[in-house]
Every structure is written in C-alpha cells, then in structure tokens.
C-alpha cells in the first residue's frame, strides 16, 4: 500500500513534465511572433521587444524549456506580464475563495444528492423517482449564469435575504458574513452537481439492490432502512465517490462563470482576467496548477476505493 502510494507520487513527475511541455509549446507553436501575440494589436515595437526579453524568447527553444523547467522545479511559475507580480503569489491569493466555494458546494451537493438518489433508487419507477430524475435533467439543462441571476433576483433583490455579490473571508471577516455571501453561489453551483451525483447514486444503488447479498440481508429480517445503509450504499459507493472526486476537480478548475456572476475574487476570475489580458505566464501557471490538483485528486479517489472495498488492494 505504502509502496503503491510512493509509486503513484513518483509517477506524477513525468505526467507533470509532459503537461509542462504542452503548456510550453502552446505559446511557442502558435503562429506568428509570440511576443507580438501577447502584446496585442495596439502594442508598440518597444512593448514587443520588452515582452520578448521578459519571456526569454530569443534563446534556442531547448534552452528556454530547460530553464523554464528549472524554475518550475523551484516553485517559480514565472512573472505576470501586466502586474509584474510572481504568478505563484497571484494564484495563492486567489485560492481561498475558490477552495472554500468548492468545499461548501460539494458538501451541500453530497448531503442533498446521495439521500435523494438513494430514495429514487429504492422507489424506482414511483413518482418520487420521477420527480428526482426530472429535477436531475433540469439541473443539467439550466445554464449557471441564468440560474445565478434568477436566484439573485428572487433571494437578494426581492426577498432581501442575502447579499447580492461579493466574498467575505471566514478567517479575517468572520463566519457569519462568509456564509451570507457564499450561500447563493453555493446554491447555484450545487444544482448541477446534485443532478449529477443523484443520477449516479440512483443508478449505482439500483444495481446493488438487485444483488444477492441484499436479499440475504432481508432474509435476516433486517429493516429496509438498514438494508440500504449497511448493505447497499457502501457497495454502491465506488462510482459515487468517483463522480464526487471529478466534481471537486471541476469546481476548483472551472467556476469561471459563477465567480463572475457573483463577483468572487477566486481562481476562475484569475483565469478570465488572464485570458482577456493574454497574460501567458499566468495562464501557463494556472494550467500547471490545475493539472497538479487533478493528479492529486485522482490519487485520492483511487486510494479511497481500497478503503471502501476490501477486495481492492494495491
């Protein structure tokens, strides 16, 4: 087991190098002078020259890559072209809101979706099942920005229950304001994850309920509730955990729209700003960072399998 973890951690190194190579080539292989591309349409010749110098674009490509890798290995993700701040620092500043929003969303989604999905599976074919599945299809279909503005309109503007936008840190500004501000984006984001997780839970539990050992549990005189809890859910957990893990990864990497709608200064906003400004070092740094998060999450998901199912041993 320890050996397996060690092996998996070592394996992340070549994966990260390959990701780094793609990130590196992305800029260099785009047509035209990358410095000119970065500088944009209204740049002067001096601007382009400054950028070329800053990115070290005049050196041979292999030297550039090796140098860059060396910097990466020391945790140096480069420097933003526009703000001139280290990329690592920019990312660090934005992690907190994104991580906390991902956390609240996934916790809320799991708390709602797993019971809903289990109930739908247990009563498969009934009206409860149909309502849950209808909600699930609806949840997939409604775009996040539509849902976000609708929720703002109802809960904030009409009912005045919650603040419209913004973010308050629980560490510096207190728990109360944090929850007041995080509730709406959490609700908005949760809808699609509840839909996804509930569907997966339903499918997985339906399959498990057909198994012989569920029949055995009933033959013991076990109550239906405990049949579901003790025998069905744990056996159904592997696909559900997988979806939850993918969900977390998506939440950390891809909540650009939600963060824009609710004006949250998180990584999604940083992505948006960097793309609009063509700030390539930030984009590169973010891609590498997200890749790293995905790899770590995947490892954690794989390890969780062996906790859930004694037949899976590494």
């Amino acid at each position: 087991m320890l050996y397996y973890i060690f092996k998996r951690v070592l394996m992340t190194i070549p994966v990260m190098v390959i990701v780094a190579l793609f990130v590196f080539l992305m800029l260099r292989l785009s047509p035209g002078d990358p410095a000119a591309v970065i500088a944009g349409d209204y740049a002067t010749a001096e601007d382009v020259a400054r950028i070329r110098e800053q990115l070290g674009l005049s050196e041979p490509i292999v030297v550039q890559f090796t140098k860059w890798l060396g910097q990466l290995a020391q945790g140096d993700l480069g420097t933003s072209i526009f703000s001139n701040k280290p990329v690592a620092e920019l990312i660090a500043q934005r992690i907190e809101p994104t991580m906390l929003l991902a956390l609240t969303t996934i916790i809320f989604s799991v708390l709602v979706a797993v019971p809903l999905g289990t109930l739908a599976a247990y009563r498969a074919g009934s009206w409860i099942d149909r309502v849950v599945m209808l909600f699930s299809v609806g949840g997939f279909s409604v775009p996040v920005f539509v849902l976000g503005y609708v929720l703002i309109y109802i809960l904030s503007l009409n009912l005045k229950l919650l603040p419209v936008q913004g973010y308050r840190s629980p560490f510096t500004e207190g728990i109360g304001p944090f929850f007041a501000h995080i509730t709406l984006p959490t609700l908005t984001l949760s809808v699609i994850f509840i839909a996804l997780i509930a569907r997966m839970t339903r499918a997985s539990v339906i399959e498990v309920l057909e198994e012989d050992y569920v029949r055995t549990a009933r033959a013991k005189g076990q109550s239906e509730f405990k049949v579901l809890m003790r025998h069905a859910l744990r056996n159904a957990a592997v696909p559900i955990i997988t979806v939850i893990g993918i969900g977390i990864a998506l939440l950390i990497g891809g909540v650009v729209v939600t963060e824009s709608v609710f004006n949250i200064p998180g990584l999604g906003r940083l992505v948006l700003d960097a793309v609009l400004a063509r700030d390539y070092p930030i984009i590169q740094g973010l891609i590498l960072f997200f890749s790293f998060i995905y790899i770590v999450l995947n490892l954690l998901i794989d390890l969780s399998y062996s906790l859930l199912d004694p037949r899976i041993r590494y």
């Binding site: 012989d212 055995t216 033959a219 005189g221 109550s223 056996n235 004694p310």
Partner: protein
C-alpha cells in the same frame, strides 16, 4: 403434532404479459419438525417461487399471492405485517441460497454479518454476540473461527462461504430452514460435506427443512419426503422411498429415468486416426516477483493425452482442477507455457496468430452457458454463418450449410432468422453445437456443455453430441465436473486435480476399479450414489 410449515392451496399470480397466468397454482404441502422435505423440479417449475414466497422475499412487483395460506407454526405469513415478517425471518425461519459467492456482502467481515442477525433480533451485548457467533462458526465446523471472524467473503472458498451462510441462518435456532439449491454451485466433494452438515444440524436441533433442488441425486441422499413440481403445480408427493422407488406420475418417472447412470455402457475401443494430442502441456499463471516473492500457480502440469476421430475423451475434475485451462490451451484461447498441441500433425502450441488462424476451424468449442455464448443482437443464422464466411465460404453456401445443420441438431431451418432470446436453454445449446459444426472441425470441445441444462434436456443434448460425433467422425474433448454425465458419453476419462492428471483410462475401468484416492473420493461423493446405482455396487 401440527406441522411447522403448512402451505394450503397457495396460488401466486404472474404479471399479465407472462407466458402463463400463475407462477404456482394450488400448492399444498407441509413440513414437520425434524423432517427434510425436498421440492424438486426443473427450471420454471415454481419451486423457487414457493420458497421465496414463504420467506416473503418474492419479487413483489411481479408476483402476487392471490389465494391460499402459508402457516408457520399456525400463523398465516400472508396476512402478517412487514414488521412481523421481519421478526419471523431469522427467529423462526431462515434461508440459505444457491450462490455462496454472492450471497454475502463483499465489504463486511463475515463475523459481523453473522453478528448482524443477533443485533437485529436480540439485545445481547457486543461481547456476548461475538461469543455466540464464534460458537455458531464452530457448529458448522469452520476452522479457526477467531481468525476467520474478521475475514472478508472473497478470502474464503465456496464451501466455507456456504458454511458462513448456514451459521448465519441458524444462529437464532429457527424452527424452519429453507435451503434453495444450496449445493448446486459447489463441487461434488464440498456438496457432500454441506449436505451432511445440513442433515447433522437438522437432526441435532429437530428443525424442519424445506430443501429446493433440481437434482434427484441430492433428493435421494437427504430427503424424508419429496414434492415434485412441474409448471407451477405439484404433480406428486410422498415419502422419499415411495416417490423414488415407485413413482406414479409420468413426469416423475421421466425425471428419474433421465438421471444418468453411474454405470458406463459397454464401449468398444476406438481405433481411428489421432486428431488431437497434447504432450507435456503446461500452463502457469502469475509470475515470480523480483525478490523471489510473487506466486506461481500450475494450472496445468505435464498433461498428456490423445483423442482419436470418433472418440470422446472426458476430462473430469472439480473447480480449480485445470480442466478448463487444458481446453483453453488446446483451443489456443490462452497460450500454453510449454508443451505440444498437435491438431492432425501441426503443432499449434506456439504458432503465431497469423499462422494459427487457418487451423482455428479445425477445433471448435461449445461453452457452458448457452445464455451468454450467443450474441443477443445477431440472428442465429448470422451467428452460425459468420465462421464459415470468415474462412472464404460464400454467403449462400454458408446459409445452406446452416439450414442443414439446424435440422441435424433438431431445430427448424426457418428459425435461423430468430434471435437467441427466442429459444430455450436447451435449444440455444443446440444452436451452439450447430455453430461449432458449421466450421467442419476435426475436434469438438464441449466445456461443461450440458451442466447448465435441466436433466431431461441434458439427456437429449448428450444424445445429440454423440450423434454428431459419429456422423462427422469428430474427436471430442468433453470437459465436465459431473461423473454421471461423463459415464454416459466418454470412451476414456482423465481425472484432474490441481492441474495434474491423477487417473487416466477407459471409462468402464475408471468407474469400476478406480486407482487413485481422489477418484474414489469423487465417486463416493456423487449424490444419490447409494440409491440410483445399487445394481453397480
């Protein structure tokens, strides 16, 4: 004395779209204390529906009891509340199932699964529960219960798992035990042990046992009384000696007659040319670790045999004996580790795939499970003609051949346009045989080809295999765990155990004068040996 279980006029209806209105109709029988009642019948007879309805575990969406009553110690189960039935399960009645592999929860330690029974129905403290669980495990003769308590089901053998299920069902000392084909999925020697365990526990505790089986050998070994079911109705019931010794209903007579005899018929030695031979065949699984760790299993170890045209060689053994590994090596479905496999005079053991392909048609196989070995989305005709067409036969000629083969295997040629799900298990096995024959092979391998079939169908398919072997002058390799079947069809027999051939000889000799201890044990363990084969003893 009133019976423990009294089923009176029980009728259970099927949904409207089913092929008959009732799963079971007007069933009446009883089980007394200290008595084993066997309900015997073929698939679709309603025997399992009967047992599951007693436990209240029938599929409630499809099956509805519409008439009659089920009295457990005088109390009608059909009128009891859900809570009441749940209390009765485990306390008064318990059930053991066919598949010990899947009947236990794979993610919970077996000790906890037995303990759950006590948790549900008693207020015992955790330490008292554990003591009781360990005692129950000792009662079913499990080795080292303290250690096994924490094992997971996948770490135990099939026989051990079935003992766990039995310990679980009996820990609360119910008055009625329902056993639904509890030994069907087990090897013969394990089956004999589990049967004697059930009998031992039943005698010691004086409980009633409702035992569901399709196997008359098992009936002969264990039953006090027998209930014979056909198409959802009881056709005959009575004491075991009467039903087996002097059956009255033609269906019972047919079933008993269809049990293959353990006495092989006289056979002449076959002297045709050698079609298939294996020399020093080895197959190893796993590999040595870098530091001497790892595990190597000899699935087949130094296996030698020849099969002549017109001859049937049986390979007999239990699970893990290597019999299927040998069949797969000979087919080159898996690659042998070493050794020679000659088909005609070509060694195919190490041929590269492209060189091997032309020889594939010479050796064909019929698998165990006719429900899964035909592609459900292709018509039977497409399945049969696909092979010959791959080898350059024109579509028209292949179709012609398929039609001829359909009538040879006893099916209508028009049925070629239908899909597999429109056929019964026995018919599908006939289709699989036709599919194999369409390649005009020299060698036909039957890998447990009749094991999944009801006895009456089994006899017909065995006859068919023998017919086509003679008609096409095939060399047949017949893989089976069933000694009765082997006795009927094989000219010679090889007995395998743990990858090694322990005995080898003409069928009649092996049965009448077994040399190896293991062969003797296998023969002794065959169910119903004392009842059906008195004349041979």
């Amino acid at each position: 004395m009133s019976p423990i279980l009294d089923i009176r006029g029980l009728t259970v209806s099927l949904p409207k779209q089913a092929d008959r209105p009732y799963a079971i109709k007007d069933i009446t029988f009883s089980v007394n204390a200290g008595e084993i009642v066997c309900v015997v019948g073929e698939s679709g007879s309603g025997k399992s529906v009967t047992s599951f309805t007693v436990m209240g575990l029938h599929d409630k969406r499809a099956l509805t009891p519409v008439a009659g009553e089920i009295l457990l110690q005088g109390e009608n189960i059909l009128n009891a509340s859900d809570a009441k039935i749940r209390r009765m399960r485990g306390e008064k009645m318990a059930m053991i199932f066919q598949e010990p592999m899947t009947a236990l929860n794979p993610v919970a330690p077996v000790g906890d699964q037995i303990g759950e029974m006590l948790e549900i129905h008693t207020n015992l403290s955790a330490s008292k529960r554990k003591a009781k669980v360990l005692q129950a495990m000792r009662d079913v003769h499990l080795p080292d219960p303290e250690k096994m308590y924490h094992s997971y089901p996948h770490q135990l053998s099939g026989g051990q798992r079935q003992r766990i299920v039995i310990a679980m069902s009996l820990v609360l000392e119910p008055v009625l035990l329902i056993a639904d084909e509890p030994t069907t999925a087990l090897d013969v020697t394990t089956q004999a042990q589990i049967l004697s365990l059930i009998k031992e526990l039943q005698e010691r505790r004086g409980m009633g046992v409702l035992f569901i089986t399709h196997d008359f050998g098992v009936v002969a070994d264990i039953a006090d009384r027998v209930v014979v079911m056909q198409n959802g109705e009881i056709v005959e019931q009575g004491p075991v000696d009467q039903v087996l010794g002097a059956p009255e209903h033609p269906y019972t007579k047919m079933l008993i007659a269809a049990v293959p005899s353990m006495t092989p018929p006289e056979r002449e030695e076959v002297t045709g040319e050698t079609a298939l031979s294996a020399t020093r065949l080895n197959k190893q699984y796993g590999h040595k670790g870098l530091f001497g760790g790892g595990r190597v299993v000899d699935a087949a170890n130094d296996v030698n045999f020849i099969v002549r045209r017109g001859e049937t060689l049986g390979i007999v053994g239990e699970s893990g004996s290597g019999k299927s590994t040998v069949a797969r090596c000979v087919m080159r479905l898996i690659d042998p580790t070493s050794g020679e496999v000659l088909i005609g005079d070509t060694d195919i053991a190490t041929l590269r795939e492209d060189k091997l392909r032309p020889h594939r048609r010479d050796i064909q196989i019929v698998f165990q499970d006719p429900y899964r070995s035909l592609n459900p989305r292709r018509t039977v005709g497409q399945s049969i003609t696909e092979g010959p067409v791959n080898f350059g036969v024109s579509q028209a000629e292949a179709l012609d051949r398929a039609k001829r083969l359909m009538s040879i295997v006893g099916l209508a040629p028009e049925a070629l346009d239908r899909f597999p799900h429109q056929f019964s298990g026995g018919q599908r096995q006939r289709i699989c045989i036709a599919r194999a024959l369409a390649m005009e092979p020299m060698v036909l391998i039957a890998d447990e080809a009749v094991s999944a079939l009801d006895v009456s169908v089994q006899a017909q398919v065995l006859d068919l295999l023998e017919d086509v072997r003679d008609e096409f002058d095939l060399a047949m390799l017949f893989i089976t765990h069933d000694l009765r079947v082997a006795a009927q069809i094989c000219d010679r027999i090889m007995v395998m155990r743990k990858g090694v051939v322990v005995e080898n000889g003409p069928t009649a000799e092996v049965f009448s004068n077994p040399q190896h201890e293991y062969t003797k044990a296998l023969l002794a363990a065959a169910p119903g040996h004392g009842t059906f084969d008195k004349e041979s003893a």
